[in-house]
Symmetry: C2
Subunit: 329 residues, 2 copies
Amino acid sequence: MLEGLDTRISLIYEPIADDLLQVEEKLASLSQTDMPHMAELLEYVLQAGGKRMRPAITLLAGNIYPHNHALPVIMGAAVELLHVATLIHDDTVDNSPLRRGRRTVTDLWGKNVAVLLGDYVFATSAVFVCETNNVRVIRRFSETLMDLSSGELQEYFSGSNSAPSRSEYENCIYKKTASLFQTASETGAILTDAPEDVVFALKRYGYNIGMAFQVIDDILDVMGNSQEIGKPVGNDLLQGVLTLPAINLMEKDPNCGPLNKLVSGNGRKDEAVVQEALGMLQDPEILSSCFAVARDYCTEAANALSIVPDSPARSSLLTLTEFVRERSY
Amino acid sequence: MLEGLDTRISLIYEPIADDLLQVEEKLASLSQTDMPHMAELLEYVLQAGGKRMRPAITLLAGNIYPHNHALPVIMGAAVELLHVATLIHDDTVDNSPLRRGRRTVTDLWGKNVAVLLGDYVFATSAVFVCETNNVRVIRRFSETLMDLSSGELQEYFSGSNSAPSRSEYENCIYKKTASLFQTASETGAILTDAPEDVVFALKRYGYNIGMAFQVIDDILDVMGNSQEIGKPVGNDLLQGVLTLPAINLMEKDPNCGPLNKLVSGNGRKDEAVVQEALGMLQDPEILSSCFAVARDYCTEAANALSIVPDSPARSSLLTLTEFVRERSY
């Protein structure tokens, strides 16, 4: 099993443990380069760990009809690399010093290295996905690349705009997070020639678990559990980005002073205003209605699995929705 | 014909004038987005002009066996978008205020917007290339993405290293420039089902004209013709990057003081040292031996066309080698 994963996650990953190790080896092999400095940089970003949830979902979705292991392994590596590349550029744009409790590339080596390294990791993910030789999968992947980048741009500009509506928020978190989860599960199914209704069901699963995941991340960002998220609390508000809890509050009180201050003007926000807003967002009623949204997405993800044939991989996907749901209390 | 192209280039592009207009329309269509701010940004970077030499080469290579116009048009747009994305990130990393005499995205809107916009344009190029539905072409494209990004990283780190050897230089300009020219011509041929020997010949053509193009750019960077290159003179040396003229001088005089100062240490270099080095590099003997290298590449490009069937497109590709060669006197 992968080092550092807790027992619960290890059990969920049980049916695909060997394949996930192969993904890990494929990622590690990237650091074997004779380009000066590169080995060190790649080793740093690829060993950053995390739960490897996206490749695990690809492997689990590709394990319902498990006649082919090689293609989901390649795809899992591609999906994780795309995720890593996005994080490198996000942290650069946000000037984030920390990610999962470790210093970011931009903090350690500067913005320029982070821009170029992110590009390189993007490129590597594209080369990996081409190894699948499957045009449908490659197309989904490139559409996801587009979702991710337009989602980031949208979020960036929303910081100097008015507060987003709930549907704008959903669209934004779909693009920046759920799109990749959806592609992770959908492509795992496509690459093992699952029937179309199963492909569609797994795609719906990926979408919903991705949405749940991001909603919970956004709630944790205002709740102050910085250990869980490994980055400073109130990070979104500091960037002028309003997420579900803030949208919830704005729906109740459109004239809310601190939030209106945060969405007007450019650049990094006033720390005192952020603290004041955080205080208002930590209202139990607001938080619990946001958590309910996340749980609804988890329920939808679980429901999507109803037509998927019973198997250890299906059970794991189901348990994963519970695992995500439990972060929502 | 495209606005702003000089008569000479317009004549060369004659056989593919209609297709090139379609590429231009495809690029312009990207700005029709309802994402706030995006239309303005995309319009700015996509109307930056330039000679559109890469898509023109794709279209000319795809016009030898001209039974299919649609695919080379899509590919031409993808190739140009990849080029534009690379420029946006390069200028960000180099802190360049100007490109082709216009202010850069990073200068006008800041580094963050430049990082995200570059990612978005990269993603768009990947979506376009998928529209060709041709796995071989998609794979070549993603390998080129990898060449471009590793070339940029290599060049970036070379600035805090020792002087590169001639073969390291060749490898670097292959990755950052010739690779995309090579893919531009090769994919044009592949997408029109040209026989394999013609595909190979056009690939060789693209490689050589791309190498010539970059060598000449590097010479112009030290020669001081800032009008021609549209950016400040000595830009490479300011970044601590030694190109062919400097490598040439180092081969003659390995202890050359100013050049050795420029390759040691990090960051932007001392302006006075750069000026001193520029004075030494503007030696006619050094410049003419560098121009000879560029002309050799042009000759190789022309030779590669020997097995390509005679046609107006072939004549244009040949004339293009002369056009590039003429920049080398």
